[in-house]
């Protein structure tokens, strides 16, 4: 219960959480018993048990022995899921938005050179002490992809982090996991952007073949610097996806054509009209990241926006991650709301199980971390949430949140403000 959290500790959540995570010596053995367990990787288990030891999940099932000395959490009547995975955030990259206006920080965007910032590792600039991170994990989101802000031809690299830890290195699950690119629909002409992207990728390939010559100054000039071309190597070798920000159906098709031509992997981000291309996306095995609450033709790129998008894509066999992109701060302050985005997808035709998958295992698979997070399977990180009820419903609360086997404790800034002003005037102490 949230109220019990309020009285439990007065330490800053981030400080306490990170101190506990800093050393696995503090990680205990935990047995969550009696709840309905949704492993995502398989069917739900009634009255199931999840055992976490030394930070990892060690057992999940209906007939699991509870280890001696384990801390037992009775989850009877509760719902137990993997920690939620928000695949589209800028967590830790900004508080107070524009520094000049607030004294805050905003580290989401690189300047780049000639529209290319491939070597910009946005997530590396995260502030692990961000109050937004603390309130996100408080509500059961344990893992996130942290992206650069878009706007350049190539805007930079994203990383997957768990939302607890005292340093970015400690938080990082894997990074980089994707390179963000644009293909049109902005201020520049589509064909020109696509041409530039093609040339950049081609130069990255040539650079790889002629590295020695490059170091000797024996190559022609490339369109980007050495650091950018190096950063693009995992993309051109097909090991890391190019995440293409594309909404219009024709832009999605253009991205797929480019991927085929350059033999690279892509992920479609935004994808307002992806439902119109569902069969092709499924056939090409292109994962898609879409919202479930967009239905407004905010520009001519998104005339086909509809809330059934995720359901239609999934029914066609596309790997779908549900993201929040409705304009209510869903990538940072309200990154915690990803569960409502999934619930709305259910309201518009997606099955409940698929919607949970779209905010857990689907992004984990898309970004190559399914061996660590996204499902309740022995060997995975101990990222587990006990919910008071259906996690998509507003009335439900995250009652226990474990990240790498350590329970999140302490009050969020929101909880401290709430407690302070429940009786007025406040005392301005504590």
């Amino acid at each position: 219960m949230r109220t019990s959290h309020m009285t439990r500790a007065t330490f800053g959540a981030t400080l306490l959480g990170s101190l506990l995570l800093a050393t696995s010596a503090h990680a205990q053995t935990i047995a969550i018993t009696g709840g309905t367990v949704y492993p995502v990787s398989g069917p739900k288990i009634e009255k199931g048990t999840v055992v976490i030891r030394d930070g990892k999940i060690v057992a999940v099932g209906a007939n699991v022995a509870i280890p001696a000395g384990a801390r037992q959490i009775d989850a009877t009547g509760k719902w137990v899921t993997p920690g939620l995975f928000n695949a589209s955030t800028a967590l830790g990259l900004s508080e107070g938005n524009v520094p000049a206006q607030s004294g805050g920080y905003n580290d989401a965007r690189a300047k780049g050179e000639k529209g290319v910032a491939a070597s910009f590792s946005a997530w590396m600039g995260m502030n692990p002490a961000s109050t937004f991170i603390a309130q996100t994990r408080r509500d059961g989101v344990t893992t996130a992809v942290v992206w650069p802000g878009s706007g350049l031809l190539v805007s930079g690299r994203a990383g997957v982090v768990d939302l607890a830890g005292e340093s970015v290195a400690a938080m990082t699950v894997r990074g980089p996991v994707a390179m963000l690119a644009e293909i049109g629909g902005g201020t520049e002409s589509r064909a020109e952007m696509q041409g530039k992207l093609r040339e950049l990728l081609a130069d990255a390939k040539t650079f790889a073949l002629r590295k020695a010559a490059f170091e000797n100054g024996a190559t022609r000039a490339f369109v980007a610097s050495r650091a950018e071309l190096e950063a693009l190597q995992p993309v051109v070798s097909g090991k890391m996806p190019l995440a293409v920000d594309a909404d219009r159906a024709s832009d999605i098709r253009a991205a797929m054509a480019l991927a085929q031509e350059m033999a690279i992997k892509i992920v479609v981000v935004g994808g307002a009209e992806a439902w119109q291309v569902a069969k092709e996306l499924a056939a090409a095995k292109v994962p898609v990241m879409v919202g479930a609450m967009n239905n407004i033709p905010t520009s001519f790129n998104t005339l086909g926006s509809r809330q059934e998008n995720a359901a239609i894509l999934r029914a066609a066999g596309v790997q779908v991650s549900i993201i929040g992109n409705g304009g209510g701060g869903e990538n940072n302050f309200n990154a915690r709301n990803i569960r409502y985005e999934a619930g709305n997808a259910v309201a518009y035709g997606m099955s409940w199980d698929e919607a949970l998958r779209a905010i857990t295992l689907a992004p984990a698979e898309t970004f190559g971390v399914a061996d660590k997070v996204g499902s309740l399977v022995a060997g995975r990180e101990g990222n587990v949430v006990v919910w008071s009820g259906d996690p998509f419903e507003f009335a439900s609360q995250a009652e226990h949140v474990f990240i790498r086997g350590v329970e999140n404790t302490g009050m969020t800034r929101e909880e401290e403000l709430t407690a302070r002003y429940k009786t007025k005037p406040p005392t301005y102490r504590k």
Partner: protein
């Protein structure tokens, strides 16, 4: 439960009602009023026949010269759509005027709510709808919208809410920016929203007049205007005007307040000049000024003030400004810190139009908490869920559900019945329309939503929506759904949230 409020705007206007002339203006239809003003005074002599002394004005003022209280130069041409008497049976009803009625019935007759209760007397011609497992609520009222003014698709051509050419633009009327073919309107209706207040933006200290619309199709904004609704005035505190006018001022919060006070000083002088002239009608009328006219109408209590203000300390300063000039703030909008001064807002009778969970976007939003609405409610204030967002406006029921959960998690008792009021009667009060809409009691307009389930569940959608008894949205009948001109050819039929 809500504590009873004295409508402050009415109290303020009492002093003007003492003037028989102004009382006549209130009681007389506008067209007659204007004609009466235009008629030359009985003692006047036509200028052509008898030259007057140069100081004497003999040309009667034209209609546009006069600054008349409650003038209505762009009158509503709204006509209710064809309706049928309708009974919804076996349905759970949140009336916003009492406890949930389980398995009750509601009769909509001649565009009004006729009966609500365990059973109703259905006329033989009534359409009968079985609402088993479903819920009925009043139509949702969003008191903070920019639909039509900041239309979709966006961009310069259709972004018309912020007249960022002067920090005080009380002269603009946002209805003149409203595009009735904005495809956001039908989506809003599909979210169960039946009445909206379209406000000018928050870039200016005083942004201009709002307009109250019914969410209905029409060729003009006049066809959407809520008949008899008062105008609102948009004011803004804090960072937005400071940011916009950094170079020319106001560049600070003290500059903001100075700008507000200067505007009200001018408005008070203007109100006095005109009230005197209207009482005597002697000599040439004062020069009419659209901006000062709007502000004078606020001082007369004829226009309601909607004040964008995030921070608690600024709200208290704006309350003092209002007292200094004798006007009442109807509602603070956005108010992420309303919870800090909920007791004061309740005492002053000022509404709090709030988001469920927005915050963090800028410095003045840093203290946003989700128990905000519940704390305002618990203090006896008028808690209102608003959107300021075309996407959020489609799911105001979901926003209310978030706020209920947050309140309970913080240990504050909040009922679903309370939360329904946040969506209906409270915003209707903020617009001065709580005598016409906002609750399901006999005699009120039949603005009604039939929900597929409990409106506080994320899986629930508005299934049917009536405005003045006419069913204008039916999720089960895509062919009959409203499509704007813009959508033809551009947006495939029968999609976009209408399914």
């Amino acid at each position: 439960m809500l504590s009873p409020f004295t409508p402050h705007h009415e109290r303020l206007s009492m002093r003007f009602r003492l003037s028989p002339l102004l009382f006549a203006f209130v009681a007389t239809p506008v067209a007659t009023r204007v004609a009466a003003q235009n008629a030359p005074p009985a003692t006047a002599t036509p200028a052509a026949t008898t030259p007057a002394a140069p100081a004497r004005v003999t040309t009667p003022p034209g209609a546009g010269a006069l600054s008349i209280p409650n003038a209505d130069p762009f009158p509503s041409t709204y006509k209710p759509f064809a309706s049928r008497n309708t009974v919804i049976r076996n349905v759970n009803i949140y009336t916003a005027a009492g406890p949930l009625i389980r398995n009750g019935a509601i009769l909509l007759r001649d565009g009004k709510v006729a009966e609500v209760g365990a059973t109703v007397n259905a006329p033989s011609d009534a359409v009968v709808i079985d609402g088993t497992g479903k819920y009925v609520t009043p139509g949702i009222v969003d008191d903070h919208s920019h639909l039509g003014a900041n239309a979709a698709p966006g961009g310069f051509a259709r972004t018309g809410a912020n007249e960022l050419t002067n920090p005080v633009t009380a002269n603009v009327w946002v209805e003149h920016s409203v595009w009735p073919q904005d495809p956001q309107f039908p989506r809003n209706l599909a979210g169960g929203v039946t009445t909206i207040q379209v406000l000018p933006g928050s870039g200016n200290l005083i942004g201009g007049r709002s307009v109250v619309l019914k969410v209905v199709p029409g060729r003009s904004v006049q066809e959407m205007k809520f008949p008899g609704a008062k105008y609102g005035l948009k004011m803004a505190c804090g960072e937005n005007p400071m940011r916009v006018y950094q170079a020319r001022g106001p560049a600070t919060r003290m500059g903001n307040i100075a700008g507000d006070r200067a505007a009200w000083i001018n408005a008070e002088a203007y109100r006095r000049r005109w009230d005197n002239w209207l009482a005597n009608k002697s000599g040439d009328p004062p020069q009419r000024d659209l901006g000062l006219e709007t502000l004078a109408e606020v001082l007369r209590g004829n226009i309601l003030v909607h004040n964008h203000c995030y921070m608690a300390d600024e709200m208290l300063q704006m309350i003092d400004v209002a007292k200094e000039f004798g006007y009442q703030i109807r509602s603070f909008h956005h108010g992420v810190e309303a919870f800090k001064v909920a007791d004061v807002l309740a005492k002053e009778g000022i509404g709090a139009s709030l988001w469920a969970d927005w915050g963090g976007g800028k410095m003045e939003m840093m203290d946003g908490i989700r128990a905000n609405l519940a704390i305002v409610q618990a203090a006896g204030g008028k808690a209102i869920v608003h959107s300021d967002d075309p996407s959020g406006s489609q799911r105001l029921n979901q926003e209310a559900a978030k706020a209920v959960a947050a309140g309970r998690a913080a240990g504050i008792a909040v009922s679903e019945e309370d939360a329904i009021r946040w969506l209906t009667i409270n915003p209707a009060w903020a617009l001065g329309l709580d005598d016409k809409i906002g609750s399901l009691v006999p005699g009120k307009n039949a603005d009604v939503v039939l929900w597929s389930g409990n409106p506080f569940s994320i899986y629930t959608k508005a299934e049917k929506v009536w405005i003045d008894g006419a069913m204008l949205f039916d999720r089960t009948d895509p062919k009959q759904q409203w499509r704007t001109d813009f959508e033809l050819g551009f947006v495939p039929a029968n999609m976009g949230g209408n399914k």
